[in-house]
Protein backbone atom coordinates (compact mmCIF):
# COMPACT_ATOMS: atom_id res chain seq x y z
CA UNK A 1 0.00 0.00 0.00
CA UNK A 2 2.90 2.32 0.87
CA UNK A 3 4.53 1.64 -2.49
CA UNK A 4 1.24 2.29 -4.29
CA UNK A 5 0.77 5.58 -2.43
CA UNK A 6 4.33 6.63 -3.30
CA UNK A 7 3.73 5.90 -6.99
CA UNK A 8 0.48 7.85 -7.09
CA UNK A 9 2.13 10.73 -5.20
CA UNK A 10 5.05 10.76 -7.64
CA UNK A 11 2.66 10.78 -10.61
CA UNK A 12 0.69 13.63 -9.05
CA UNK A 13 3.93 15.58 -8.58
CA UNK A 14 4.88 14.95 -12.23
CA UNK A 15 1.37 16.01 -13.27
CA UNK A 16 1.81 19.24 -11.37
CA UNK A 17 5.14 19.89 -13.12
CA UNK A 18 3.51 19.34 -16.48
CA UNK A 19 0.36 21.34 -15.80
CA UNK A 20 2.08 24.25 -14.07
CA UNK A 21 5.81 24.60 -14.72
CA UNK A 22 6.03 23.36 -18.29
CA UNK A 23 3.03 25.33 -19.44
CA UNK A 24 2.47 29.05 -19.43
CA UNK A 25 -0.36 30.91 -17.67
CA UNK A 26 -2.25 30.97 -20.98
CA UNK A 27 -3.01 27.27 -20.61
CA UNK A 28 -4.45 27.76 -17.14
CA UNK A 29 -6.54 30.75 -18.22
CA UNK A 30 -7.91 29.02 -21.32
CA UNK A 31 -8.90 25.69 -19.76
CA UNK A 32 -9.69 26.68 -16.18
CA UNK A 33 -11.23 30.11 -16.74
CA UNK A 34 -12.26 31.03 -20.29
CA UNK A 35 -13.90 27.80 -21.48
CA UNK A 36 -15.87 26.93 -18.32
CA UNK A 37 -16.88 30.54 -17.69
CA UNK A 38 -17.81 30.88 -21.38
CA UNK A 39 -20.22 27.94 -21.09
CA UNK A 40 -21.69 29.33 -17.86
CA UNK A 41 -22.24 32.69 -19.55
CA UNK A 42 -23.98 31.01 -22.51
CA UNK A 43 -26.41 29.37 -20.09
CA UNK A 44 -26.94 32.69 -18.32
CA UNK A 45 -27.54 34.42 -21.67
CA UNK A 46 -30.17 31.82 -22.55
CA UNK A 47 -31.89 32.30 -19.21
CA UNK A 48 -31.85 36.11 -19.48
CA UNK A 49 -33.46 35.77 -22.90
CA UNK A 50 -36.41 33.72 -21.66
CA UNK A 51 -36.67 35.13 -18.14
CA UNK A 52 -39.66 37.21 -19.21
CA UNK A 53 -41.45 34.15 -20.59
CA UNK A 54 -42.04 32.41 -17.28
CA UNK A 55 -38.67 30.66 -16.86
CA UNK A 56 -38.14 30.13 -13.13
CA UNK A 57 -34.81 31.21 -11.58
CA UNK A 58 -34.75 28.20 -9.24
CA UNK A 59 -35.06 25.81 -12.21
CA UNK A 60 -32.19 27.58 -13.93
CA UNK A 61 -30.06 27.45 -10.75
CA UNK A 62 -30.45 23.65 -10.71
CA UNK A 63 -29.05 23.41 -14.25
CA UNK A 64 -26.34 26.01 -13.61
CA UNK A 65 -25.02 24.17 -10.53
CA UNK A 66 -24.90 20.81 -12.34
CA UNK A 67 -23.12 22.47 -15.26
CA UNK A 68 -20.48 23.77 -12.82
CA UNK A 69 -19.85 20.29 -11.39
CA UNK A 70 -19.68 18.83 -14.90
CA UNK A 71 -16.20 20.43 -14.97
CA UNK A 72 -14.97 17.39 -13.00
CA UNK A 73 -16.14 15.15 -15.82
CA UNK A 74 -14.53 17.41 -18.42
CA UNK A 75 -11.21 17.81 -16.62
CA UNK A 76 -10.71 14.54 -14.72
CA UNK A 77 -12.62 11.93 -16.74
CA UNK A 78 -11.91 13.31 -20.21
CA UNK A 79 -8.52 14.50 -18.95
CA UNK A 80 -7.47 10.83 -18.63
CA UNK A 81 -7.87 10.44 -22.37
CA UNK A 82 -5.95 13.65 -22.93
CA UNK A 83 -3.08 12.41 -20.74
CA UNK A 84 -2.65 9.46 -23.11
CA UNK A 85 -2.81 11.73 -26.18
CA UNK A 86 -0.26 14.17 -24.74
CA UNK A 87 2.14 11.48 -23.54
CA UNK A 88 2.04 9.58 -26.81
CA UNK A 89 1.69 12.31 -29.45
CA UNK A 90 3.06 15.48 -27.90
CA UNK A 91 5.82 14.49 -25.50
CA UNK A 92 6.37 10.99 -26.99
CA UNK A 93 6.99 9.62 -23.49
CA UNK A 94 4.16 7.10 -23.14
CA UNK A 95 6.47 4.16 -23.87
CA UNK A 96 8.78 5.21 -21.00
CA UNK A 97 5.86 5.59 -18.59
CA UNK A 98 4.61 2.18 -19.69
CA UNK A 99 7.89 0.38 -18.95
CA UNK A 100 8.49 2.24 -15.67
CA UNK A 101 7.59 0.47 -12.38
CA UNK A 102 4.89 3.06 -11.62
CA UNK A 103 2.25 1.30 -13.73
CA UNK A 104 -0.06 3.08 -16.14
CA UNK A 105 -3.15 2.90 -13.92
CA UNK A 106 -1.30 4.40 -10.91
CA UNK A 107 0.22 7.01 -13.17
CA UNK A 108 -3.17 8.06 -14.50
CA UNK A 109 -4.58 8.20 -10.97
CA UNK A 110 -1.73 10.44 -9.82
CA UNK A 111 -1.98 12.71 -12.85
CA UNK A 112 -5.72 13.06 -12.32
CA UNK A 113 -5.09 14.59 -8.87
CA UNK A 114 -3.82 17.78 -10.49
CA UNK A 115 -6.74 17.79 -12.90
CA UNK A 116 -9.04 17.49 -9.88
CA UNK A 117 -7.43 20.59 -8.35
CA UNK A 118 -7.81 22.54 -11.59
CA UNK A 119 -11.42 21.43 -12.00
CA UNK A 120 -12.15 22.53 -8.43
CA UNK A 121 -10.80 25.98 -9.29
CA UNK A 122 -13.17 26.17 -12.27
CA UNK A 123 -16.18 24.92 -10.27
CA UNK A 124 -15.62 27.48 -7.51
CA UNK A 125 -15.12 30.20 -10.12
CA UNK A 126 -18.37 29.33 -11.94
CA UNK A 127 -20.38 29.19 -8.71
CA UNK A 128 -18.93 32.47 -7.39
CA UNK A 129 -19.52 34.14 -10.77
CA UNK A 130 -23.09 32.88 -10.76
CA UNK A 131 -23.76 34.00 -7.21
CA UNK A 132 -22.14 37.43 -7.43
CA UNK A 133 -22.66 38.60 -11.02
CA UNK A 134 -25.26 36.43 -12.73
CA UNK A 135 -27.84 36.31 -9.95
CA UNK A 136 -27.83 32.51 -9.62
CA UNK A 137 -28.70 32.31 -5.94
CA UNK A 138 -30.58 29.97 -3.67
CA UNK A 139 -31.53 29.59 -0.05
CA UNK A 140 -28.39 28.48 1.80
CA UNK A 141 -30.59 27.12 4.57
CA UNK A 142 -31.55 24.30 2.21
CA UNK A 143 -27.96 23.08 1.89
CA UNK A 144 -27.43 19.60 3.33
CA UNK A 145 -23.67 19.16 3.92
CA UNK A 146 -23.86 15.44 4.75
CA UNK A 147 -25.68 14.49 1.57
CA UNK A 148 -23.40 16.77 -0.44
CA UNK A 149 -20.18 15.28 1.01
CA UNK A 150 -21.24 11.67 0.43
CA UNK A 151 -22.58 12.22 -3.08
CA UNK A 152 -19.64 14.43 -4.06
CA UNK A 153 -17.07 11.78 -3.05
CA UNK A 154 -18.94 8.91 -4.77
CA UNK A 155 -19.30 11.01 -7.92
CA UNK A 156 -15.59 11.73 -7.96
CA UNK A 157 -14.84 8.02 -7.62
CA UNK A 158 -17.12 7.38 -10.61
CA UNK A 159 -15.34 10.13 -12.55
CA UNK A 160 -11.96 8.55 -11.86
CA UNK A 161 -12.98 5.03 -12.84
CA UNK A 162 -14.89 5.96 -15.99
CA UNK A 163 -11.78 7.96 -16.91
CA UNK A 164 -9.83 4.68 -17.02
CA UNK A 165 -12.11 3.42 -19.79
CA UNK A 166 -11.59 6.66 -21.74
CA UNK A 167 -7.81 6.32 -21.30
CA UNK A 168 -7.99 2.67 -22.40
CA UNK A 169 -9.81 3.59 -25.60
CA UNK A 170 -7.33 6.40 -26.21
CA UNK A 171 -4.54 3.78 -26.03
CA UNK A 172 -6.23 1.63 -28.68
CA UNK A 173 -7.41 4.41 -31.01
CA UNK A 174 -4.48 6.80 -31.53
CA UNK A 175 -5.83 8.90 -34.40
CA UNK A 176 -9.39 9.06 -33.17
CA UNK A 177 -8.53 9.68 -29.51
CA UNK A 178 -9.01 13.47 -29.60
CA UNK A 179 -12.49 13.22 -31.08
CA UNK A 180 -13.30 10.34 -28.77
CA UNK A 181 -12.38 12.48 -25.74
CA UNK A 182 -14.46 15.42 -26.88
CA UNK A 183 -17.32 13.11 -27.89
CA UNK A 184 -17.57 11.42 -24.51
CA UNK A 185 -17.63 14.81 -22.78
CA UNK A 186 -20.47 16.13 -24.94
CA UNK A 187 -22.26 12.77 -24.89
CA UNK A 188 -22.33 12.64 -21.08
CA UNK A 189 -23.43 16.30 -20.99
CA UNK A 190 -26.44 15.33 -23.08
CA UNK A 191 -27.16 11.88 -21.68
CA UNK A 192 -26.97 12.72 -17.96
CA UNK A 193 -29.24 15.77 -18.13
CA UNK A 194 -26.69 18.28 -16.90
CA UNK A 195 -28.64 21.34 -18.12
CA UNK A 196 -32.13 19.87 -18.52
CA UNK A 197 -34.28 17.23 -16.80
CA UNK A 198 -33.67 13.70 -18.10
CA UNK A 199 -37.46 13.43 -18.51
CA UNK A 200 -36.99 15.36 -21.78
CA UNK A 201 -34.74 12.69 -23.28
CA UNK A 202 -36.36 10.42 -25.88
CA UNK A 203 -37.47 6.95 -24.83
CA UNK A 204 -34.47 4.64 -24.79
CA UNK A 205 -31.97 7.39 -23.99
CA UNK A 206 -33.85 8.13 -20.76
CA UNK A 207 -33.46 4.52 -19.62
CA UNK A 208 -29.82 4.55 -20.75
CA UNK A 209 -29.18 7.65 -18.63
CA UNK A 210 -30.29 5.68 -15.55
CA UNK A 211 -27.35 3.31 -16.04
CA UNK A 212 -24.81 6.15 -15.75
CA UNK A 213 -23.77 7.23 -12.23
CA UNK A 214 -23.46 10.90 -13.23
CA UNK A 215 -27.23 11.15 -13.74
CA UNK A 216 -27.69 10.36 -10.04
CA UNK A 217 -24.68 12.48 -9.12
CA UNK A 218 -26.09 15.67 -10.63
CA UNK A 219 -29.47 14.95 -9.07
CA UNK A 220 -27.90 14.39 -5.63
CA UNK A 221 -25.83 17.58 -5.94
CA UNK A 222 -28.96 19.58 -6.81
CA UNK A 223 -30.82 18.16 -3.85
CA UNK A 224 -27.96 18.69 -1.41
CA UNK A 225 -27.17 22.25 -2.49
CA UNK A 226 -30.51 23.65 -3.66
CA UNK A 227 -32.98 21.36 -1.95
CA UNK A 228 -34.76 20.56 -5.21
CA UNK A 229 -34.77 18.04 -8.05
CA UNK A 230 -34.67 18.79 -11.74
CA UNK A 231 -36.20 15.54 -12.91
CA UNK A 232 -39.79 14.50 -12.20
CA UNK A 233 -38.70 10.90 -12.69
CA UNK A 234 -36.11 11.07 -9.90
CA UNK A 235 -37.98 13.50 -7.62
CA UNK A 236 -39.99 10.64 -6.11
CA UNK A 237 -36.85 8.77 -5.08
CA UNK A 238 -35.72 9.10 -1.47
CA UNK A 239 -32.17 10.30 -0.70
CA UNK A 240 -31.21 6.78 0.31
CA UNK A 241 -32.51 5.37 -2.98
CA UNK A 242 -30.65 8.04 -4.92
CA UNK A 243 -27.36 7.46 -3.08
CA UNK A 244 -27.85 3.71 -3.42
CA UNK A 245 -28.26 4.04 -7.18
CA UNK A 246 -25.23 6.33 -7.35
CA UNK A 247 -23.07 3.96 -5.27
CA UNK A 248 -24.33 0.82 -7.01
CA UNK A 249 -23.77 2.11 -10.55
CA UNK A 250 -20.35 3.44 -9.48
CA UNK A 251 -19.26 0.06 -8.09
CA UNK A 252 -20.39 -1.77 -11.23
CA UNK A 253 -18.65 0.76 -13.46
CA UNK A 254 -15.48 0.67 -11.35
CA UNK A 255 -15.18 -3.09 -11.74
CA UNK A 256 -15.96 -2.92 -15.45
CA UNK A 257 -13.58 -0.01 -16.06
CA UNK A 258 -10.54 -1.60 -14.41
CA UNK A 259 -11.16 -4.81 -16.33
CA UNK A 260 -11.75 -2.85 -19.56
CA UNK A 261 -8.64 -0.72 -19.07
CA UNK A 262 -6.38 -3.76 -18.71
CA UNK A 263 -8.05 -5.46 -21.69
CA UNK A 264 -7.62 -2.33 -23.84
CA UNK A 265 -4.05 -1.84 -22.62
CA UNK A 266 -3.17 -5.41 -23.65
CA UNK A 267 -4.84 -4.87 -27.01
CA UNK A 268 -2.97 -1.61 -27.59
CA UNK A 269 0.31 -3.36 -26.82
CA UNK A 270 -0.54 -6.28 -29.12
CA UNK A 271 -1.42 -3.87 -31.95
CA UNK A 272 1.71 -1.77 -31.41
CA UNK A 273 -0.30 1.34 -30.57
CA UNK A 274 1.48 2.33 -27.35
CA UNK A 275 3.97 4.55 -29.18
CA UNK A 276 1.98 4.95 -32.39
CA UNK A 277 2.30 8.67 -33.07
CA UNK A 278 -0.27 9.79 -35.63
CA UNK A 279 -0.76 13.54 -35.36
CA UNK A 280 2.55 14.97 -36.45
Amino acid sequence: VRALAARVKLSAWLGWQIESNWADPLTFIVYSVLRPVGTALILAGMFWTVAGHGARPEAFAAFYVANAFHEYVVRVLIGMGWIVVEEREEYETLRYVYVSPVGLLNYLTGRSAVKFALATTSVVLILVLGWTLLGVRWDLGLVRPGLFAVSFVIGLVATLFVGFIVAGWALVLPRAAINLNEGIGVGLYLLCGVIFPIDLLPHGFRELSLLVPFTYWYEALRRSLLGRSASTLLASWSDAQLLGALAGSTIVLAVVSVWAFHALERRARRLGRLDHSTLF
Partner: protein, 275 residues
Protein backbone atom coordinates in the same frame (compact mmCIF):
# COMPACT_ATOMS: atom_id res chain seq x y z
CA UNK B 1 11.05 34.32 -69.63
CA UNK B 2 8.64 36.53 -67.69
CA UNK B 3 5.13 35.40 -66.80
CA UNK B 4 2.07 37.17 -68.17
CA UNK B 5 -0.84 38.22 -65.95
CA UNK B 6 -2.85 35.35 -67.40
CA UNK B 7 -0.12 32.88 -66.41
CA UNK B 8 -0.07 34.21 -62.86
CA UNK B 9 -3.86 34.06 -62.58
CA UNK B 10 -3.92 30.52 -63.96
CA UNK B 11 -1.21 29.42 -61.54
CA UNK B 12 -3.05 30.86 -58.55
CA UNK B 13 -6.36 29.43 -59.70
CA UNK B 14 -4.74 25.98 -59.97
CA UNK B 15 -3.26 26.39 -56.48
CA UNK B 16 -6.70 27.35 -55.11
CA UNK B 17 -8.41 24.36 -56.71
CA UNK B 18 -5.63 22.00 -55.60
CA UNK B 19 -5.81 23.17 -51.97
CA UNK B 20 -9.60 22.98 -51.94
CA UNK B 21 -9.40 19.45 -53.40
CA UNK B 22 -7.03 18.29 -50.67
CA UNK B 23 -9.29 19.75 -47.99
CA UNK B 24 -12.44 18.05 -49.31
CA UNK B 25 -10.96 14.67 -50.20
CA UNK B 26 -8.67 14.51 -47.17
CA UNK B 27 -11.51 15.17 -44.77
CA UNK B 28 -13.67 12.43 -46.27
CA UNK B 29 -10.88 9.92 -45.71
CA UNK B 30 -10.85 10.43 -41.94
CA UNK B 31 -14.08 9.16 -40.34
CA UNK B 32 -13.05 10.36 -36.85
CA UNK B 33 -12.91 13.95 -38.12
CA UNK B 34 -16.38 13.61 -39.64
CA UNK B 35 -17.72 12.55 -36.25
CA UNK B 36 -15.83 15.37 -34.52
CA UNK B 37 -16.95 18.05 -36.97
CA UNK B 38 -20.52 16.92 -37.64
CA UNK B 39 -21.84 14.96 -34.67
CA UNK B 40 -20.34 16.73 -31.65
CA UNK B 41 -21.63 20.26 -32.41
CA UNK B 42 -25.06 18.74 -33.08
CA UNK B 43 -25.06 17.02 -29.67
CA UNK B 44 -24.14 20.27 -27.93
CA UNK B 45 -26.92 21.99 -29.86
CA UNK B 46 -29.45 19.37 -28.66
CA UNK B 47 -28.46 20.00 -25.03
CA UNK B 48 -29.10 23.75 -25.43
CA UNK B 49 -32.45 23.16 -27.13
CA UNK B 50 -33.47 20.87 -24.26
CA UNK B 51 -32.42 23.58 -21.79
CA UNK B 52 -34.94 25.92 -23.42
CA UNK B 53 -37.55 23.16 -23.09
CA UNK B 54 -36.57 22.61 -19.47
CA UNK B 55 -37.03 26.32 -18.78
CA UNK B 56 -40.40 26.32 -20.51
CA UNK B 57 -39.33 28.81 -23.20
CA UNK B 58 -41.41 29.43 -26.35
CA UNK B 59 -40.62 27.12 -29.28
CA UNK B 60 -39.13 29.95 -31.36
CA UNK B 61 -36.08 30.07 -29.07
CA UNK B 62 -35.33 26.44 -29.87
CA UNK B 63 -35.11 27.46 -33.54
CA UNK B 64 -32.59 30.16 -32.64
CA UNK B 65 -30.47 27.60 -30.77
CA UNK B 66 -30.58 25.15 -33.68
CA UNK B 67 -29.47 27.83 -36.15
CA UNK B 68 -26.66 28.76 -33.76
CA UNK B 69 -25.61 25.13 -33.49
CA UNK B 70 -25.43 24.85 -37.28
CA UNK B 71 -23.29 28.01 -37.54
CA UNK B 72 -21.00 26.75 -34.76
CA UNK B 73 -19.80 24.03 -37.14
CA UNK B 74 -18.45 26.73 -39.48
CA UNK B 75 -16.78 28.59 -36.62
CA UNK B 76 -15.03 25.38 -35.52
CA UNK B 77 -13.79 24.95 -39.08
CA UNK B 78 -12.61 28.57 -39.25
CA UNK B 79 -10.65 28.13 -36.01
CA UNK B 80 -9.17 24.67 -36.46
CA UNK B 81 -9.17 24.37 -40.24
CA UNK B 82 -8.06 27.90 -41.10
CA UNK B 83 -6.64 29.60 -38.00
CA UNK B 84 -4.57 26.66 -36.80
CA UNK B 85 -3.74 25.29 -40.26
CA UNK B 86 -0.26 26.78 -40.57
CA UNK B 87 0.48 25.45 -37.07
CA UNK B 88 -0.52 21.92 -38.18
CA UNK B 89 1.62 22.32 -41.31
CA UNK B 90 4.57 23.45 -39.21
CA UNK B 91 4.19 20.42 -36.94
CA UNK B 92 4.07 18.10 -39.93
CA UNK B 93 7.14 19.70 -41.47
CA UNK B 94 5.30 20.96 -44.54
CA UNK B 95 5.10 24.69 -43.88
CA UNK B 96 8.26 25.46 -45.81
CA UNK B 97 6.64 23.97 -48.93
CA UNK B 98 3.92 26.61 -48.74
CA UNK B 99 6.50 29.36 -48.78
CA UNK B 100 8.66 27.74 -51.44
CA UNK B 101 5.70 27.33 -53.83
CA UNK B 102 5.58 29.79 -56.76
CA UNK B 103 1.93 30.75 -56.16
CA UNK B 104 0.48 33.40 -53.84
CA UNK B 105 -0.12 32.36 -50.26
CA UNK B 106 -3.51 34.04 -50.48
CA UNK B 107 -4.43 31.64 -53.31
CA UNK B 108 -3.66 28.74 -50.98
CA UNK B 109 -5.73 30.34 -48.21
CA UNK B 110 -8.62 30.84 -50.62
CA UNK B 111 -8.48 27.17 -51.56
CA UNK B 112 -8.51 26.20 -47.91
CA UNK B 113 -11.50 28.46 -47.31
CA UNK B 114 -13.49 27.20 -50.31
CA UNK B 115 -12.77 23.57 -49.42
CA UNK B 116 -13.59 24.30 -45.78
CA UNK B 117 -16.98 25.86 -46.60
CA UNK B 118 -17.90 22.98 -48.91
CA UNK B 119 -16.80 20.29 -46.47
CA UNK B 120 -18.47 21.99 -43.49
CA UNK B 121 -21.71 22.48 -45.41
CA UNK B 122 -21.78 18.73 -46.04
CA UNK B 123 -21.28 18.16 -42.32
CA UNK B 124 -24.03 20.53 -41.22
CA UNK B 125 -26.48 18.05 -42.74
CA UNK B 126 -26.32 16.09 -39.49
CA UNK B 127 -27.19 19.18 -37.42
CA UNK B 128 -29.99 20.07 -39.84
CA UNK B 129 -31.45 16.57 -39.56
CA UNK B 130 -31.18 16.68 -35.75
CA UNK B 131 -32.66 20.16 -35.51
CA UNK B 132 -35.46 19.97 -38.03
CA UNK B 133 -36.07 16.22 -38.04
CA UNK B 134 -35.55 15.06 -34.47
CA UNK B 135 -36.11 18.26 -32.44
CA UNK B 136 -38.87 19.45 -34.73
CA UNK B 137 -37.95 23.13 -35.13
CA UNK B 138 -39.39 25.06 -38.09
CA UNK B 139 -38.35 28.11 -40.15
CA UNK B 140 -40.21 30.31 -42.64
CA UNK B 141 -37.62 31.93 -44.95
CA UNK B 142 -38.96 35.20 -46.33
CA UNK B 143 -36.54 35.17 -49.27
CA UNK B 144 -34.28 32.24 -50.27
CA UNK B 145 -32.17 34.60 -52.40
CA UNK B 146 -31.58 36.92 -49.47
CA UNK B 147 -30.70 33.90 -47.34
CA UNK B 148 -28.07 32.81 -49.89
CA UNK B 149 -26.67 36.35 -50.01
CA UNK B 150 -26.43 36.58 -46.21
CA UNK B 151 -24.81 33.13 -46.04
CA UNK B 152 -22.22 33.95 -48.70
CA UNK B 153 -21.28 37.32 -47.16
CA UNK B 154 -21.06 35.72 -43.69
CA UNK B 155 -18.82 32.95 -44.96
CA UNK B 156 -16.51 35.38 -46.77
CA UNK B 157 -16.18 37.50 -43.61
CA UNK B 158 -15.71 34.46 -41.35
CA UNK B 159 -13.09 32.77 -43.51
CA UNK B 160 -11.28 36.07 -44.08
CA UNK B 161 -11.03 36.29 -40.29
CA UNK B 162 -9.71 32.71 -40.38
CA UNK B 163 -7.00 33.79 -42.84
CA UNK B 164 -6.00 36.61 -40.50
CA UNK B 165 -5.84 34.23 -37.54
CA UNK B 166 -3.80 31.80 -39.60
CA UNK B 167 -1.24 34.53 -40.28
CA UNK B 168 -1.09 35.52 -36.61
CA UNK B 169 -0.74 31.92 -35.45
CA UNK B 170 2.23 31.47 -37.78
CA UNK B 171 4.45 32.78 -35.01
CA UNK B 172 2.99 30.53 -32.35
CA UNK B 173 3.67 26.93 -31.48
CA UNK B 174 1.58 25.12 -28.94
CA UNK B 175 -0.18 28.39 -28.06
CA UNK B 176 -2.08 28.21 -31.37
CA UNK B 177 -3.93 25.14 -30.04
CA UNK B 178 -4.77 26.90 -26.77
CA UNK B 179 -5.85 30.09 -28.54
CA UNK B 180 -8.24 28.13 -30.74
CA UNK B 181 -9.73 26.55 -27.62
CA UNK B 182 -9.96 30.00 -26.02
CA UNK B 183 -11.98 31.23 -28.96
CA UNK B 184 -14.74 28.65 -28.75
CA UNK B 185 -17.14 29.06 -25.79
CA UNK B 186 -16.33 32.76 -25.14
CA UNK B 187 -17.01 33.58 -28.81
CA UNK B 188 -20.20 31.48 -28.76
CA UNK B 189 -21.35 33.64 -25.85
CA UNK B 190 -20.32 36.97 -27.37
CA UNK B 191 -21.89 36.02 -30.71
CA UNK B 192 -25.19 35.00 -29.14
CA UNK B 193 -24.95 31.58 -30.72
CA UNK B 194 -27.74 30.10 -28.59
CA UNK B 195 -29.74 33.24 -27.81
CA UNK B 196 -30.44 36.54 -29.60
CA UNK B 197 -27.31 38.70 -29.57
CA UNK B 198 -29.54 41.64 -28.60
CA UNK B 199 -29.76 40.08 -25.10
CA UNK B 200 -26.16 41.18 -24.50
CA UNK B 201 -26.98 44.84 -25.12
CA UNK B 202 -23.98 47.06 -25.84
CA UNK B 203 -21.55 44.18 -25.28
CA UNK B 204 -23.25 42.24 -28.07
CA UNK B 205 -23.06 45.26 -30.36
CA UNK B 206 -19.31 45.63 -29.80
CA UNK B 207 -18.71 41.88 -30.27
CA UNK B 208 -20.74 41.90 -33.48
CA UNK B 209 -18.49 44.67 -34.78
CA UNK B 210 -15.39 42.52 -34.23
CA UNK B 211 -16.46 38.93 -34.94
CA UNK B 212 -18.64 38.28 -38.01
CA UNK B 213 -20.19 35.13 -36.49
CA UNK B 214 -22.79 36.95 -34.38
CA UNK B 215 -23.72 39.45 -37.08
CA UNK B 216 -24.07 36.76 -39.76
CA UNK B 217 -26.11 34.52 -37.49
CA UNK B 218 -28.37 37.41 -36.50
CA UNK B 219 -29.00 38.26 -40.16
CA UNK B 220 -29.70 34.62 -41.04
CA UNK B 221 -32.12 34.27 -38.12
CA UNK B 222 -33.98 37.38 -39.25
CA UNK B 223 -34.34 36.01 -42.79
CA UNK B 224 -35.45 32.58 -41.50
CA UNK B 225 -37.76 33.40 -38.60
CA UNK B 226 -38.51 37.11 -38.97
CA UNK B 227 -39.37 39.04 -35.82
CA UNK B 228 -38.94 35.96 -33.61
CA UNK B 229 -35.19 36.41 -34.21
CA UNK B 230 -35.20 39.57 -32.04
CA UNK B 231 -32.63 40.99 -34.48
CA UNK B 232 -29.93 43.46 -33.54
CA UNK B 233 -29.97 45.60 -36.71
CA UNK B 234 -31.90 45.57 -40.00
CA UNK B 235 -30.65 42.82 -42.34
CA UNK B 236 -29.48 45.29 -45.01
CA UNK B 237 -27.23 47.08 -42.49
CA UNK B 238 -25.87 43.76 -41.23
CA UNK B 239 -25.04 42.70 -44.80
CA UNK B 240 -23.18 46.00 -45.27
CA UNK B 241 -21.25 45.55 -42.02
CA UNK B 242 -20.37 41.95 -42.88
CA UNK B 243 -19.10 43.05 -46.31
CA UNK B 244 -16.96 45.70 -44.62
CA UNK B 245 -15.57 43.15 -42.15
CA UNK B 246 -14.78 40.78 -45.03
CA UNK B 247 -12.73 43.46 -46.82
CA UNK B 248 -10.95 44.54 -43.61
CA UNK B 249 -10.01 40.95 -42.69
CA UNK B 250 -8.83 40.16 -46.24
CA UNK B 251 -6.49 43.16 -46.24
CA UNK B 252 -5.40 42.42 -42.68
CA UNK B 253 -4.65 38.79 -43.56
CA UNK B 254 -2.49 39.82 -46.51
CA UNK B 255 -0.54 42.43 -44.55
CA UNK B 256 -0.16 40.19 -41.48
CA UNK B 257 0.99 37.23 -43.55
CA UNK B 258 3.69 39.25 -45.32
CA UNK B 259 4.92 40.77 -42.06
CA UNK B 260 4.83 37.62 -39.97
CA UNK B 261 6.38 35.46 -42.69
CA UNK B 262 9.30 37.85 -42.69
CA UNK B 263 9.49 37.90 -38.90
CA UNK B 264 9.28 34.10 -38.64
CA UNK B 265 12.11 33.73 -41.15
CA UNK B 266 14.27 36.26 -39.33
CA UNK B 267 13.70 34.58 -35.96
CA UNK B 268 14.09 31.10 -37.43
CA UNK B 269 10.63 29.96 -36.29
CA UNK B 270 9.19 28.94 -39.62
CA UNK B 271 10.31 25.32 -39.32
CA UNK B 272 10.56 25.11 -35.55
CA UNK B 273 8.34 22.45 -33.92
CA UNK B 274 6.97 22.34 -30.38
CA UNK B 275 8.52 25.61 -29.25
Amino acid sequence: MSRTVADVLALNARATVARAYVRIVGSIREPAWIVGDAVLPALGMCAFVLLYRGLGAPKSYETLAVLGGILSTYWINVLWGMGAQLYWEKQQGQLQLYFAAPCSRMAIFTGMALGGVFMTTMRTVFSIVMGFGVLGVRVHPESPLLLVLVFVVTMVALYALGMTLSSLFLLYGREAWHLCNAMQEPVYFLSGLYFPIRTLGALGGVAAGLIPLGLGLDAMRQVLVGEAAHGLLPVSIEIGLLSGLAVVFMVLARVALAYLENLSKREGRLTQRWQ
